[in-house]
Symmetry: D3
Subunit: 138 residues, 6 copies
């Protein structure tokens, strides 16, 4: 095989959420999460960048077919998250606070088993243009 | 007074919403609004650009003090819309469907009385980076 | 009907082209068009913003359903232009130089008959992030 | 001649400035201009978009050659403003406060005589990504 | 504690500066730094991205509260640099040339003592949209 | 020498290409590369970010003079790739499929010998705003 390259594919989804820890009182939640805790939810245009690292296949010149990667993200992440309420509609967040950090870990765990073991994976998630996260950290 | 110039100030807010016409059946709403009608809401990072047109004050070189314009938007729009559920928390949308078009008209109507009659006003609102609206149309 | 609003939908396509006037000599073409005239083509990620202006439908809150507008652009513009060589593959440019100006006029002429007469239309086309055009001019 | 189209060319320059009205006292200047009045200057990456409107030349497919327009901006605006202190180095601002509004008018007045009478001109100037102006207003 | 994640917060400031080495002659400075050495300063809209890496707190879902991180940057960096002349107003650059590289190191040294030892820190600084730096290098 | 910093310079070029493996049949090429294999080429606005890592020179405050780095990229990459057909005009792709991955490796190999051994190099290449690659992978 060829040189080791990282390839990145950007997709986006729109979702509602609120931050809340069910084990805390209402006033504790308000003190810690501020307006992110407001009861009727708010929302974001999440921008998702999926990074896949591996060797170039000399036959295709690809690390992974970007069309295939895009389809994988669409089928397994966008269909599950887009135009949804993360707290109410996505089972992974029934007990888990949908912070950007936790959403990135959940997306990683959904995609990791779908990729060859020879490829490594990293998730970057923009909650707003000025706030974003990466998992795993390098 | 001096030359006529337009000045623009960009601000943003994050909010949840869903599209729904209370006079229609559930299946009509689903057919017309698709996933934008999903019951538990979704959300957006709305980017708002407020355009104010008027003559340059020769003393200051300003059409309007951008700090003052920014404060006006913050106090009257962001405090009302940011981190809120437009359908549930904003009285203007109790009866009115919070489409991007209608949100832009509501923002215009909130800001218009707060500006001098010598200034004209236009609202541009991005619901996503690829979908946006302007009111009034030129 | 309601207030008059403009709505904008952004789409993109990737295409090859070269600038050339078949009535000129080779050296005239090189002098006028410079490296845009190179014989083996170059290409761009064209960003297309379609602006539609009309009154808000009070039932839907829409000027036009953005999903429908997006489908219209996909079926009539992207399918025809995307991943193509504009000079060789698109009949409209058999005789017409595919400058950004001319591409914008061609797109307008393709979309105009597909929209209701009550709606007005404007095309913005980015050839690069620093060069773009609008038709019709306002 | 052909259809009427607007073409846009984006350029940028970096400059220092401060806002100050020489006819006011120091404390009046501080009250009106706040931190924009600080004595040792601050600066911006100004993004300049020059819009030229006219008919398409059927021979070239151009309203104006973008290379020529870019050279015109470089020779007459960037060479004069880039990496300069607007208050100290640019004669036009010896008496005139270099607000974004006034800079846009000065740029318009520098470029207008250099363009054919058949072309119309508009200047958009970004002082920051969130603050920008247009002259003439439409 | 939970998974290791990086979080990023973007802020910006506007400042004037010039590049100059006090130990060199004027002509040496001009030869090396070109128009960045012009005597009356120029300026930039600096975009600052602060990256903090650590484990997710399972109670909050946060690596660090982004509001708190934003306040930290505002109080310790923006208040010191924004709308200032880096050479004249910021003591750290009395002897040190305010190149983007050196500004990034200074920002790192100001923020590092304010963060828990369990968190690691990296600074990305955009001097212009096309020129940026990162410290520490990875 | 001083602290180790990474500096980044962004440049762009416009080029035509198609994906094709000369050892495969036409129908195999169509199946694997889809519309990227269309015979008359398509094209992109490639955005190139060159990252150079090294120690700050305490005399200049630079890792490398960005003007010098920009010239190096212009002379060795842009002059070779810009407004060209990668398959037909660039000898490196006579046998090598011009995928984004392979283009990044070719650019790295062209620039690496031109930089001091004390500096390390990484290439990021955007084929579209949503598809990009990095070489070497970290």
């Amino acid at each position: 095989m060829g040189e080791k390259v990282s390839v990145f594919r950007e997709e986006h989804f729109n979702a509602a959420h609120r931050l809340n820890n069910a084990k805390w009182t209402e006033s504790e939640n308000q003190r810690i999460f501020g307006k992110c805790n407001l009861p009727n939810y708010h929302g974001h245009n999440y921008e998702l960048i999926v990074k896949v690292t591996g060797e170039i296949d000399p036959e295709t010149g690809y690390v992974i077919d970007m069309k295939l990667l895009s389809d994988l993200i669409r089928d397994n992440i966008l269909n599950k998250f887009d135009h949804k309420n993360l707290n109410l509609d996505v089972p992974e967040f029934k007990e888990l606070n949908p912070s950007a950090e936790n959403i990135a870990v959940v997306i990683y765990n959904l995609l990791r088993p779908l990729l060859s073991e020879h490829l490594s994976l990293q998730i970057r998630l923009y909650e707003t243009p000025r706030n974003f996260v990466e998992f795993p950290a390098v």
